[in-house]
Symmetry: C2
Subunit: 159 residues, 2 copies
């Protein structure tokens, strides 16, 4: 079976880019930490564990390249750092995020919740939507539990 790495490799080749060892190491780190919204520096440190010779600039260049090819999305949660998130394969749109203002955790919502909203925007504002970014800020189910020890269960059955 064709692996995700293989498909990314083809994607690069189709634009005459190569999947060099450094790029592959970077992609692997992203795959292994798919839920984690790593910053460039995070990625660099993780790649460095396996491939100590790599340079930070290369990681930046690789991430930029992957973003350009829409293999990853570059996101920004308001701290001054860009974070990088693998796209779901074949996903037309970017997934959504839940940022907890208590503990800082970032959860993902893969389902597209915006179908109806996008119709409204396209019709009423005559805006041709290509992509979207939706982030909710609030309190995650873990922190809610801590605040109110009564309340338990529910949630977490989506990721």
């Amino acid at each position: 079976m064709e692996s995700r790495i293989d498909r990314i490799k083809k994607h690069l080749h189709s634009q005459s880019y190569k999947l060099t060892p450094q790029r592959e190491a970077t992609v692997r780190v992203l795959l292994e930490n798919e839920e984690d919204h790593l910053s460039a520096e995070d990625v660099y440190l993780l790649v460095k564990e396996k491939s100590p010779e790599i340079g930070l600039a290369t990681v930046y260049r690789t991430l930029e390249l992957l973003a350009e090819l829409k293999i990853v999305d570059k996101i920004n949660f308001g701290d001054g750092v860009s974070r990088f998130d693998l796209r779901q394969e074949g996903a037309a749109h970017f997934h959504h995020h839940l940022v907890c203002i208590e503990c800082g955790a970032v959860d993902e919502i893969q389902e597209d919740l915006l179908g109806d909203v996008e119709k409204v925007v396209e019709n009423d504002w005559n805006f041709k939507i290509k992509d979207h970014r939706l982030t909710f800020h609030g309190i995650c189910y873990r922190c809610q539990k801590q605040e109110d020890p009564e309340q338990q269960e529910q949630a977490a059955n989506h990721s």
Copy 2:
């Protein structure tokens, strides 16, 4: 009648902050350019026209303060720069944005389109929403016109 500046002044006072001349000048610039999503540097340059002695650091400190008090929102469209946007008075939630990938224009949607979506998120993910950020990337009505001279009218009747 009480002006918007007066209410902001009270808001500051209620937290034992003062509306100094520098802060007032900064707020005025934001009020006069409410649609423009200015960067800190933009604000600085505009404030400087009226109050040349002001320092860039002061503008940063003021904007940070205003963001903390939820008078402005700090937003980030993916270029490396933070932009600042006055909140609508009394708005519980942040308004939405339409970013044109052709011309870079940023339009605002003041209506809250996310009521239903938020219900789903709160119920299904057990996430207590405090705020949200929604940005659409696509092509604005102006650029669509240019690409297809046939199509005219519509839109712009919302801002």
